[in-house]
Amino acid sequence: MEFQIFGLGILTWLVFIPIIGMAIILLLPDKNRNAMRWTAVSVTGIQVILAGIIFFIFDRDKLGINDAESFQFIEKFSWITVESVPWVGRIEISYFLGLDGLSVLMVILTSLIGFIGVISSWNIDKMVKGYFSLYLLLVTGMMGVFVALDFFLFFIFWEAMLLPMYFLIGLWGGPRREYAAIKFFLYTFVGGILMLLTMLALYFSVAYTDPVTGQSVHTFNILHMMNPSNYVEGGLLSGVDTTWRYVAWMALFINFAIKIPLFPFHTWLPDAHVEAPTPISVILAGVLLKLGTYGLLRINFPIFPDATMYFMYFMAALGAISIIYGAFCAMAQTDFKKLIAYSSVSHMGIVVLGIAALNTQGMVGGVLQMFNHGIITAVLFLAVGVLYDRAHTRGLNDFGGVAKQMPKYTGIAMIGMFAALGLPGLNGFVSELFSFLGAFESYRWITMIAVTGIIITAAYILWTIQRVFLGEKSEKVKNLADLTPREYLAFLPLIILIILLGIYPAPAIELMNSSLSHLVEFVVNGGQ
């Protein structure tokens, strides 16, 4: 489908429009803080509009995944081509963007969360110019990862997120921000190096034959890496079920597991969340964590179907451990933000369990859970931010009786809490149900154990509600004002989506159903 604006495809605009905004912000004089804020809002607003357009014209029947023809909004330019190097043939890196059912929902999520993050950044007064420049750079990185179909490009976007995030946590964060920032940086960088090495090994193992010239071309194209017939004779990762393929799968898996974050790679998350400013927590939980599971589905599953099948129990087990471990940890917290951070570990475990089931139900449930979790945690972090802005504490035991003091706020926060708990009628329920259904088909025992996590989740959420919202008004709560219009604006779209997708999830499921069924089939058949 051709859809162009000023000669450039819609995806290019979607990815790079924040960079334009960043340039404008950098050129504005230091005093003009409101102009900077409005620039950021307009830029992310345009992204939401573009994502909306994509939602309406996206063709639900096209498969994508491994077939370049059925991707949509494709943009492909040759970026680096070096001809006839004697020992390897041609070298090719391309600027290759495209959408399929797997990525379209993530793109919509990213634009939405990015927009809401800007709204909730309004009261940041420290170094506004730097803040919004880095913020927009971060948005470009995230958007880029979701639309890139060239591994090199994917990697560039992936790593481009690191530095902005490091500064956003380290400069605008809480008291232990430095420690949290470097911990985040380090964990992700370790993963990045693993991914880099695997990417190189793949690159040298894959060469497709140019249909026009008949040359053998080494390429970073992810889709070519999925085709078993493109692997060169004697390449490190050629063949099926070889040790090196398992090693490569594991290296990639660790990289993505750090981002997800999956037990035992999760320890950076609570620190980062607690220290990060509210909007950055929202971005972190809302979008960044999804990059991990997205990477598994985009790269690990289709490029290494053999290794994926080999490690599927391992993946499911880690998912189940994360669900239960995260829930127990959440229960033990007295810091509101830390509690939500651990609940993220738990909920992302559901995603991993769902996609590890390798059937359509589980896969759809998992991807939908990625989207839903993004929205729900965004609400929860915004809710904590509202309280923290007013009371300057996040201690669960410091509050009490908020419901009496701030009824409107309580209403909205409760919707988020109940959605996280998995209450039927709200969106969390649908995706958790699908994930567990799919997982149950594949792994009875693991799933039966994992489901107990739901009970623990209910326990800690209800207990939190009781401690914070119910009971008598505590000292801290007495003078707190209810929501401002700006805060409403940030909550509103998310709450609407929570309810809408809880009652009628079909629009989201339709977007991805055919692609994900194809992905399952592709992996189960060993890449055929």
């Binding site: 070298i91 790593e159 090994a201």
Partner: protein, 496 residues
């Protein structure tokens, strides 16, 4: 004979220009006002002219002066890099406050730089052991004097002394190794030596000893473990512009020499095929020797850099680590490795000089070389601090900077050559390197400046120089095809 000489001279114009520049500098030093910066300008013009004539020669491949010197794309690549490094160092020197007390001696300084440039030009192009050793010594002796140029500073004098002692010993050992090699093969021409080695010789033990001894001298020049001990002290003590030319220029030249020497002498030339993959001569596993040294350099360099507080010392250890990464390209015995070394050096030039430049500006203005002293500088000198951040991020190897492309190609070469363990070491040490690079960034931005905290102006001149280094570092991270092409065309060596 006259014809041959004339023909040779036509390939020799850049060197002649440099020699003329040296003469002009001597005259100008005597004639002109000692306070003026005339020497710097003369050297800039000389280097530019030499650069133009080097570029004009491109394409031709020949062996000149009775097989003493190779005029090939490989040597021209290195000469262009050296000229770029020289140009930047001269620009730095004209702004360096360390030389304020030595104004009347600046003529000498530029002469020594010119002498070093001439030596380095010969290092990357000589194909005869005699000339090779002479070039090596010309470069070394100029740099010994340069390291102690600010002689009233204790540290500078000490640095010079240490440098001479280490340098003299290691080049002595190298000379001994070279003489053993000549003894075994009865020739001083590297092609003839290679022929003799390919045909097979009897004394493999002696050959192996000679390789180790030669590596002592070359390892000293590129500052690779275990011959690196001089580097931190000299880098710290020498004036920062001299440190920059040692860390960049001298390293580039030494790599030119090392690559040419090893890939011509110790390669089984009967086995070179169209594939661009070689094998080492029988009985000598120098690839394993160099691989081990590379691993050691990466480990020691990066680990030791963690504990440094002086920025020059930290950059010294980081440059040891980078020598390790660079050596990885040589051990895989393939053209691909060589071209990735060239790409790495090209990018390394900009990012490392950039880091030294900002360090110099900070030491000029804030009188600190201590990383602890960098606290809050991000708010007092925003542009320079952002620049330093980008250079350090690039040295770490994060996209989208040039340093990433450099690492990508060198790692890629090692992966395709099957040196997985070496790449694993490189990957782990890269992660370690993040710590000490990012610590500088942290100090600059995560602390509020203490005391007087006005923004500091650095002037147009310094901004222009900074941009000249910063823009290539960033552009090369996104659009690097020209460098790939340039490197690919430059790996043709005369006689390979």
């Amino acid at each position: 004979m006259i014809e041959h000489t004339l023909h040779s001279i036509s390939f020799f114009i850049p060197e002649i220009i440099l020699v003329i520049t040296l003469c002009v500098l001597i005259v100008a030093d005597m004639a002109a006002n000692p306070k003026s910066q005339i020497g710097g300008w003369i050297l800039l013009v000389g280097l530019l002219l030499a650069g133009v004539f080097t570029v004009l020669q491109s394409g031709a491949t020949d062996s000149v002066f009775y097989d003493m010197i190779a005029a090939d794309p490989f040597s021209r690549f290195f000469k262009i890099l050296l000229i770029l490094a020289g140009l930047f160092v001269v620009l730095f020197s004209m702004q360096n406050n360390e030389f304020d007390d030595y104004k009347e001696r600046m003529g000498e300084y530029y002469m020594l730089i010119t002498g070093m440039m001439i030596g380095m030009f010969f290092m990357v192009s000589s194909t005869n052991l005699l000339l090779l050793y002479l070039a090596f010594e010309v470069t070394s002796i100029s740099s010994y004097v340069l390291a102690g140029f600010t002689k009233r500073e204790r540290k500078s004098a000490e640095a010079s002394m240490k440098y001479i002692i280490y340098g003299a010993v290691s080049s002595g050992v190298m000379l001994y190794g070279l003489s053993l090699l000549v003894g075994v093969t009865a020739s001083t021409d590297i092609y003839a030596i290679n022929e003799a080695l390919t045909e097979g010789i009897d004394q493999y033990l002696i050959l192996n000893i000679s390789i180790v001894m030669i590596m002592v001298g070359m390892g000293f020049k590129i500052a690779v473990v275990p011959f690196h001990f001089w580097a931190p002290d000299v880098y710290e003590g020498a004036p920062i512009t001299v440190t920059a030319i040692l860390a960049v220029g001298s390293k580039i030249a030494a790599f030119g020499l090392l690559i040419r020497f090893f890939t011509i002498v110790y390669v089984d030339s009967s086995g070179i095929s169209e594939t661009g993959i070689w094998s080492a001569v029988d009985g000598v596993h120098w690839d394993i020797l160099l691989g081990g040294m590379a691993a050691l350099a990466m480990i020691v360099g990066n680990l030791t850099a963690l504990r440094q507080d002086n920025i020059k010392r930290m950059l010294a250890y980081s440059s040891i680590a980078h020598a390790g990464y660079l050596l990885m390209g040589l051990v895989i015995l393939a053209e691909q490795g060589i071209s990735s070394i060239l790409i790495y050096l090209f990018i390394y030039l900009f990012m490392n000089l950039g880091a030294f430049y900002v360090a110099m500006l900070f030491s000029n203005r804030f009188k600190t070389e201590s990383i602890k002293g960098y606290k809050g500088l991000g708010f007092r000198a925003p542009l320079q601090s952002v620049g330093l951040t980008i250079f350090l991020v690039s040295l770490t190897g994060l996209p989208p900077t040039g340093g990433f492309i450099a690492k990508l190609y060198i790692f890629g070469a090692a992966v395709s050559g099957g040196w997985i363990w070496l790449v694993a070491v490189a990957g782990i040490t890269t992660i370690i390197s993040l710590f000490y690079y990012i610590r500088v960034v942290r100090n600059m931005f995560f602390f509020r400046p203490e005391g007087e905290a006005d923004k500091v102006e650095f002037g147009y001149g310094s901004t222009v120089v900074l941009m000249l280094l910063l823009i290539p570092t960033l552009i090369l991270g996104i659009y690097f095809e020209p460098v790939l092409e340039f490197a690919k065309l430059s790996i043709q060596m005369f006689g390979v």
